[in-house]
């Protein structure tokens, strides 16, 4: 479950990666974990964003000029979760656990990825 401060951190990270290329990287049925890769088109720098216990995904598998935003979301059975959207790309993902940036838990994520 994500706290408001976590959503704020994720949005700060997404803002920093606005304009990147986004690619579906992996889905694992265990923990319904979905990974999207963000890649800087000029430098090739990349990072994975992992969505745990996601229960809905829609959108293209690859798009450029991404502009992701994270919102608080409540599942039909009342669990607090996240919703991440890219309106222009038509991308949407919802889940009830957490969004993890790179290989780090949000609580320990390097601020270098966020600031």
């Amino acid at each position: 479950m994500m706290a408001d401060k976590d959503i704020t951190k994720v949005n700060a990270f997404f803002k920093n990666w606005k304009g990147a290329i986004a690619l579906f990287n992996k889905f694992t049925s265990s923990h319904n974990r979905f990974v999207i890769e963000l890649k800087q088109p000029d430098s090739g720098e990349f990072i994975g964003v992992s969505f745990s216990f996601c229960n809905y995904i829609a959108g293209p598998t690859w798009w450029d000029n991404c502009e992701l935003t994270c919102f608080r979301w409540k599942s039909p059975d009342g669990k607090n979760g996240y919703e991440v959207r890219d309106e222009m790309a038509g991308f949407l993902i919802r889940g009830t656990d957490s969004v993890v940036i790179g290989e780090e838990d949000l609580s320990t994520a390097s601020l270098a990825y966020i600031n």
């Binding site: 990287n25 990072i47 992992s50």
Partner: protein, 158 residues
């Protein structure tokens, strides 16, 4: 990169012609090998475009689909296609940043077709690295290899 340029490419051409005369291939197609996606733009058409550029067939062209169900079948299919191809045209773009990094590509490829590496939270497969390593280390395949980097044929470090 220029150090591995035209002179050695000519040598490679010569080797290929010798191999051709020897008749060590059994089919009349060339096989294109390389990353499917462009390493910077993410475009999934890099290998298709390369194949058109060098007049070769991709795995998908040869087998009509890209996934045979298991990694074991994929490996067997790739090897069969490599053995049957006349030339193996290898696009190094995205696999290395300069031709002198070729040994590190081989080192990764030697780990096998299946290993997956997680880098900054992103999973990276090893199929193309393994393909290049397999070609380079297989006596019957090595002479059929033609390497390309930045859309130009290059010779690789021996």
């Amino acid at each position: 990169m220029i150090a591995y340029g035209i002179e050695k490419w000519t040598t490679a051409e010569t080797l290929l012609r010798v191999n051709e005369v020897g008749g060590s291939y059994s089919s009349d197609f060339d096989m294109a090998i390389g990353l499917a996606r462009h390493h910077l733009t993410g475009s999934p058409t890099q290998l298709e475009n390369f194949a058109k550029h060098v007049n070769a067939k991709t795995y998908g062209d040869i087998y009509r689909n890209w996934w045979p169900g298991t990694m074991e079948r994929l490996e067997a299919n790739i090897l069969r296609a490599m053995n049957n191809a006349k030339y193996l045209k290898i696009n190094l773009d995205g696999l290395i940043k300069a031709v002198n990094e070729f040994p590190s590509l081989l080192q990764k490829g030697s780990r096998g077709i299946e290993p997956v590496e997680v880098i900054r939270g992103v999973e990276r497969g090893n199929i193309t690295n393994w393909e290049v390593w397999k070609i380079y280390t297989t006596f019957s395949l090595k002479p059929k290899a033609v390497y390309y980097f930045n859309s130009r044929p290059v010779s690789i470090p021996q």
